[in-house]
Subunit: 339 residues, 2 copies
DNA sequence: CTGTTAGCGCTTTCAA
DNA sequence: TTGAAAGCGCTAACAG
């Protein structure tokens, strides 16, 4: 490992000047003669000099890196949010360090520790479905490192959050299904500790009440995001003496899965059973029929989360505000609920 | 910004001992009294001490970070490879820094520079569709930082590569289509500077020749991965006096798009026209009919790439071998080509 | 305009 | 078993 990374000292030696002068020339400071500056820049270019950020970060105690921890990258949702975040971060001179928790609490904790050790200037977090303890995130506040939650947030932490108006989105789905004449709507609910899933379920229940439709406990199943089980749940519903005429899934993957199963049974979608999901996954437009869903403003979510974070960086903990930013959902009606 | 990150000095001060002793206790070195070790560890735990990796990395000139640069995260392919890489890296005590080049050469260069500045111990790269100049990657070799290419590789760089046997995969697709009785197979080819796309095209041409099928230039269109244009190309083909009876797209997104367009025309898939893609995107199983495609062993690809990289780290540049690892494709036949 | 010094937090000598 | 000093590469402060 003959890692010969060029340093300021190398350049200084070659040019026979002091390293501080080289540093000044490189950072574009005033007070360097035109000739010296030119010599330094030329040699740096020729030798592929790259500032050792490690050293710079160590002395400035700033890394200009924002950590972002997401539960998964398989559905298109998080990659889209990351894209939005990346653009905003880049504009402000920050890089993004991505951590993937794979929906596991322990991996999330490990990611958090790694980010802490790497001295990120702040982190954006979207929780795993398992996370119920927030000790690992509270450390950030204690250490004065800003943290912004997005999408998968929790009420226990006092910190800015960017979320979709899940209640409104779910209500739009329900209103749409009910307006289509559906009366026995089943709900595949998400993990109970995810706030957004609770909100969606709440909207489901409230919508039924508002329209004086009966709430049948048989039609509500808590789904822990294990796709393999969807088949069992949907078949259970289809086999009921009085099966549902619509299924509102907490997000798109199980909605897509449900469509497959219903088609296998030879039932008609949406006439026999309508299906709706949430979050507009890439695949949802391609299923046959297309899956009715809620589109989230992913770009905005990433951008706003970064902005909130940048606002906190440089400010004292005492000045931090716990903004709660709620974004608007957009109903996307496709063939799974509408002919 | 009252960032009060606990340091070894803080602990040393509190305990009234020297920082070197604290360091020794923390790193589990011998030659520390039981009591001192216990005191230090307890206080560290109590105060949430996190080693400042920046400082450690600066002195050890090792970051234990592997950079991975991918062109996009929207299709499920790269996230899957990353997942495989992440597991392998984690097992070896490395973290992964993800850079997304958005298929833009300049962004790729910027990513590379950022990784260099952050002193990653090595990088995995999959090129953008635009990349034709490899100067930014050659720097790594000069600096003694290992680099492994995967999926989107180039012949110009002497460095280990992990790729799918694109020629074989494309041949399997072609053999399958031809065996299904298709005789006028169109090919939506990928960007010319992507080696894997050239190989797929080569297989397309060779397969036609082998079966004494005519090669019609009208049926070969170079597609620059701009999805919007697919509509134009496919319509052009459909409007030919003698339209194709099958379309082999260089990857899945345009294949899926083609299916939509053909269906809009009221043509039957696969009877009138069969369609095939490449890489088995998540969405491909959900289109109607399902898209015939080639599955890549994404997990293996990520894992092997990391292994090759780790083999190079610590070794001198002179010992680096330019392994060329070729993985086996798997043909996935779905309704778009088979009834 | 340029050189010298000190220090970011850590580990690793070398001494005691 | 412990402490003191040096150094990783950089920049800011202070002299000259």
């Amino acid at each position: 490992m003959a890692k010969h990374q060029i340093t300021i000292i190398d350049i200084a030696k070659e040019l026979g000047i002091s390293k501080s002068t080289v540093s000044r020339a490189l950072t574009g400071h005033l007070g360097v003669s035109e000739k010296t500056r030119k010599d330094v820049l030329e040699l740096a270019e020729k030798w592929d000099y790259q500032k050792n950020m490690l050293a710079f970060q160590l002395m400035s105690s700033r890394t200009y890196v924002i950590g972002i921890i997401v539960p998964e990258l398989m559905t298109s949702f998080f990659p889209k949010v990351i894209q939005g975040a990346q653009v905003a971060a880049q504009d402000a001179g920050y890089s993004i360090l991505i951590g993937q928790s794979n929906e596991q609490y322990l991996t999330e904790v490990a990611n958090v520790k790694a980010m802490l050790a790497n001295r990120v200037d702040g982190i954006l977090v979207s929780l795993t479905k398992e996370t119920q303890n927030y000790e690992h995130l509270e450390i950030f506040r204690r250490k004065g490192i800003p943290i912004v939650m997005f999408n998968r947030v929790c009420t226990e932490l006092k910190t800015p959050k960017v979320v979709l108006d899940d209640y409104k989105g779910a209500t739009e789905i329900m209103e749409h299904l009910i307006a289509s004449g559906k009366k026995r709507i089943a709900h595949l609910a998400g993990p109970k500790n995810l706030y957004s899933c609770r909100k969606r379920k709440e909207a489901y229940l409230d919508s039924l009440k508002r329209h004086n439709l009966p709430i049948d406990p048989e039609l509500i199943i808590d789904y822990d995001m294990n796709l393999d089980q969807v088949k069992i749940f949907v078949k259970y519903w289809l086999d009921l003496p009085n099966p549902p005429d619509a299924i509102f899934a907490v997000n798109d993957p199980p909605g897509i899965e449900a469509i497959q199963i219903i088609k296998e049974r030879g039932l008609s979608i949406p006439n026999d059973i309508a299906v709706a999901g949430f979050s507009d996954d890439n695949s949802s437009q391609y299923v046959e029929p297309g899956l009715t869903t809620i589109r989230q403003p992913t770009d905005d979510m990433g951008r706003i989360a970064v902005q909130l974070l940048l606002d906190m960086i440089d400010k004292d903990v005492s000045e931090w505000k716990t903004v709660y930013k709620v974004l608007k959902p957009e109903l996307i009606v496709r063939g799974s609920s509408f002919v």
